[in-house]
Symmetry: C2
Subunit: 287 residues, 2 copies
Amino acid sequence: MTVAESHRESPTDEPPQAFVPGHVTGLFSVHPADDPRKAGSRGAGLALSAGVTVTVVPADETTVELDGETVEMEAVTGTLDRLDVSAAVRVESDLPVSAGFGVSGGAALGAVLVANERFDLERTENELVSVAHAAEVAAGTGLGDVVAQARGGAPLRCEPGAPGHGELNGIATPPTRVEYVSFGGRSTGEIIGGDVETLTQAGERALAALRDAPTLPHLFACSRAFAKDADLLTPSVERAIDDVRDAGGEAAMAMLGETVIALGDGLTRAGYEPASCEIDRAGARLV
Amino acid sequence: MTVAESHRESPTDEPPQAFVPGHVTGLFSVHPADDPRKAGSRGAGLALSAGVTVTVVPADETTVELDGETVEMEAVTGTLDRLDVSAAVRVESDLPVSAGFGVSGGAALGAVLVANERFDLERTENELVSVAHAAEVAAGTGLGDVVAQARGGAPLRCEPGAPGHGELNGIATPPTRVEYVSFGGRSTGEIIGGDVETLTQAGERALAALRDAPTLPHLFACSRAFAKDADLLTPSVERAIDDVRDAGGEAAMAMLGETVIALGDGLTRAGYEPASCEIDRAGARLV
């Protein structure tokens, strides 16, 4: 065993992997900028123990495979381009795509973490997060998932942008079960690329209210107010949230998917058959 | 089950607890300031899966028990004073005190996390970390452990101070086994309260070198150079580091204790009988 290998807990020939938690946004505002590292969102959400696992194998050309299917995932391709490397990236996801779980951002963040290891790039964690954030913003598929997924927990995105520009905080949470159901997909790009003035005003108001009393139940309440003010609810989402509330639980919409999340067993008690996971407190990591 | 309880994974009558990873500093520089939130250290280290578990029970007067013994722990008392609450704080530690593992900072950080939950204080994570950091600095028992323990991983403390003042980064690490042996205690206050000009110059040099190539083996190399330049090595520590190096491993001193840490099984291979743990990537958390 060489010294370079000896610090791994169980040295194997397996390529390095990264796990990146999913991330559901409960409320947000949009903050464009010419430099994609400065662009981003303010907002609040939850990092989830359901997420994506990413492997990276050096190759002549960058390709992306998601759960065994070759896909276009511009955030991932852009991430490796920015590092000046090319590789076959394999993403396995516990979560549906385009349903508000940050799968594209997670894939980009996982790819950058593994590529750093695999290509001996010697970048700091902040530099790696910055690359994935910039690629995700440039791809138009997300504005705040990457920094939240890197942090873990219940992230408050107080200032937009990558490390060095943005500013993060968090709600302190005990171990917490989260349930979710998805009724379909939704294009993030379509909404964040459109007229976002009303949405951003509603998001700023909701974040300010949440910061006055940063607790999990209040995150859900502020998210519901935001979804209504920003006119984001679909009939299925609205009905599920109402059902959970009627059964005495906390539920909210995951932005931007047709997805409802609930604390504890809120969806089960309301008669749904949700998937469940926990809040992930560690954030993105090599595994 | 009420809604307030329902989001806990396993609702029980147990009081909330926090786990805070231990933290070993490999290199550092000292940065005093009148405001303890602005004071701190730059440096680099490792958060450990061995750490402290803290419970807080409201009481008329604040007391601290460490592994069953009543102790004075000013960082903890100061933390609760700053929150304007009083409680019986119980700390259980996997790690020896005054040996460079950040037990006092960990106890303060654990106390603030549990107190926030227990007294419904509704503070953000950054606010809580800030309180524990300020109390630890004011107590003179540490300068950078708290912010590093809150973050987890292999933290680089690029700017000193609490959240909002300091700046953190990290070395991306795979799951990593760490071994350690302690040869005795050492007073942090004695060293960081004394003449630290040489030490701080050596610490700044070592951190700059590490940031050029932020990897785990390089952290150990920079730490060894720092310990020598700052004249911190004791004969037992120096001998153990040399033994691990002779056996082909990576070892360094944990500042400021008479403690040696090694990557992987470095100390075992050199004939020592160390304790072992892993790098903790999640940071301080309610459990």
